[in-house]
Symmetry: C2
DNA sequence: ATCTAGGGTGAATGCGCTTTCACGAGCCTC
DNA sequence: GAGGCTCGTGAAAGCGCATTCACCCTAGAT
């Protein structure tokens, strides 16, 4: 910058103005400066600017990454499916945030969280942004507590661990309730089995609550826990869960359920495959539903009835909240619940 | 930081050491500092650190975004499909770069490019990173020229506009040539039609060259240009192109082609739908191929024969190149060509 | 008891920019 | 023709950290 100033015969203040506020400099002077900058290959230092102006123009996102980064080639080679599906969630958030951020003139800094010492990636991100979003359960609450005192943080899709933070969830409970209601009222189904997972996310729990509520509303027995728990919320485990459910009713005299409601789409897709292998027809013999609305849900046979989450909007809303809070740091914590919509397809007996 | 130093009774130099090089500080002192930091909610400023140390620990990515950010809700509501598919490319690069970056201790700053004055997003990114990757045709060559004098830049998937930059491409030509050869030699097809687009990417052009080479190698007539050009490389346009191709042969006495080779998967998928509507069977009546290997290509009926691009690896390699150049700024420009692989599925008559 | 090493710490400098504040030159007003 | 204006510019003071360099203190060697 000093070089540019010298070369164009002005002071560094003027050079700065050319970049920050071009209109405040005479056109002729501006041209001189810009030309000098071009000749010298001048690239303004974001760090210096950030230091001096105390804003960075960058928003951040911390998200979990389930895959071990060192097992890269393995993951890429084999199981492109699950990987693909898992990607979708954070990828869509990234995309949503990126777009909204751009609309507001921000760039986006992303980092999958890693645990670490004081110099963890989270700290790195936190120090370089004007505000950031955190996917639930990716950053230790203690760290968040500290960081959120310095800059806006919005929590995405999880329980509200820190109550003075803005946070956004999707209407998991309402969505699953509505879906269940649909099965009961519109399809006349009575024996419903909800499939959760061993290690359940808060989202999955909320969905189960929706299921319970719908059962209660319809006067059906209200299970206190999922009928089956898959090991993880993956396709393979979903298939196993479906098998387990059917085995159970075949061996004993227990009647087979009329519907299986999975806590997410991936499990439901796996179940569809398992059922096909067994010769159980969907939806004639049994209805199957998922949750999330991943692209794959529409492509499987039969197309999966599910609850569509506005994931990308989650990202966009996160940015909106950050921008708003940046503009008004004092305002009360905001808690948003994004609406979901039941997508009725063939797997429940619709269309 | 000054506050932390004061509160823990040390100098700022020691506080700095606690974060940068914990081992150089006595454990007891370190604890004091860390506790003070916690109490004060201290978050180190990345800008200041960047300024002082002259490195940011961040890598960047500039990519194009075809969708208008202001048309957001519209895009989200309607055409979730195309959008989904388009996302994949840059999303996978993002994911690949993010992983590789994390492996090397870097965070990733992303920004879809926007044209603008001296304060464009590109400049913003450039000033905040240690190096970055650019998707072809997203940043004006002149800007790149300037920026690349200051920090490592690697160009992704395009022509080598600036020859002193590192750059990575995928083997478009080789892939399409191999695919075409497969159709000719293994399936005995002779009348092949390549479908390009009006505004073609260098990638699409390279693919067409591969097609030409295979035709020449087989002693078939070598077309000087694509048989049809779609308006854009989208699903809808692909369908139109397929229709146009068939209309042409039905009206006139020209024989219908035995195979349609599309410049990318999206167009091919659209074509598949158009053909189904017309009652033309694939692959019995006509073979169809794509390029890219997007997930959707495997899910359509019939599954699409295509050429799989290692997109995520593109991102990873980009990071590797950046890291290497950061370690050795003087080394000669590197040019990488990533191998592709023909994925034979039902749409060409295989399996 | 003196000397030497080396680990632990503080003082001071500068990284490259933004941002007052002050200043001069031209313009208008009365 | 003097006072007030605005516009364009320069001087200088930080922004929060990393990093010498010098210093002190303790331990082991002599």
């Amino acid at each position: 910058m000093y070089d540019v100033a010298e070369r164009s015969g002005v002071s560094i203040a003027t050079v700065s103005r050319v970049y920050r506020n071009p209109d405040s400099v005479r056109a002729q002077t501006r041209e001189k400066v810009m030309e000098a900058a071009r000749e010298l290959g001048y690239v303004p230092s974001g760090s210096a600017r950030g230091l001096a102006s105390r804003t960075t123009g960058v928003l951040g996102l911390c998200f979990p990454d389930y895959a071990d980064p060192d097992a890269e080639s393995a993951a890429a080679a084999s199981d492109a499916d699950d990987d693909q599906a898992v990607m979708l969630y954070s990828d869509q958030i990234i995309r949503g945030m990126e777009r909204a951020a751009r609309r507001h003139g921000y760039a986006l800094l992303i980092a999958a969280s890693l645990d670490g010492g004081p110099e963890s990636l989270v700290a790195k991100v936190a120090g370089r942004v004007d505000g950031f979003a955190v996917l639930a359960r990716t950053v230790p609450t203690a760290d968040l507590e500290v960081i959120s005192r310095r800059l806006p943080v919005v929590m995405l899709a999880g329980p509200r661990e820190i109550d003075h933070l803005d946070h956004i969830v999707v209407a998991n409970t309402e969505g699953e309730r509505e879906l269940t209601r649909h099965l009961i009222e519109d399809h006349g189904l009575r024996r419903l089995a909800f499939v959760g997972a061993e290690e359940e996310s808060p989202d999955a729990q909320a969905r189960f609550r929706g299921f319970q509520e719908a059962c209660r509303d319809a006067g059906l027995p209200v299970p206190s826990r999922p009928e089956v728990r898959a090991g993880m919320m993956t396709q393979a485990e979903g298939a196993l869960a479906a098998d387990a459910l059917l085995d159970r009713s075949e061996g004993t005299g227990v009647e087979r359920p009329e519907a299986m409601l999975f806590a997410n789409d991936q499990m439901a897709v796996g179940a569809l495959q398992a059922l096909e292998r067994r010769g159980v027809r969907v939806p004639e013999d049994i209805a199957v539903t998922g949750f999330d609305g991943i692209p794959l849900s529409r492509l499987v046979r039969p197309p999966l009835t599910t609850v569509r989450q506005p994931i990308r909007q989650l990202g966009e809303q996160a940015v909106e909240l950050l921008v708003e809070r940046l503009a008004d740091p004092g305002r009360a914590p905001v808690s948003l619940e994004l609406p979901v919509s039941v997508t009725r397809r063939a797997s429940c007996g619709c269309g």
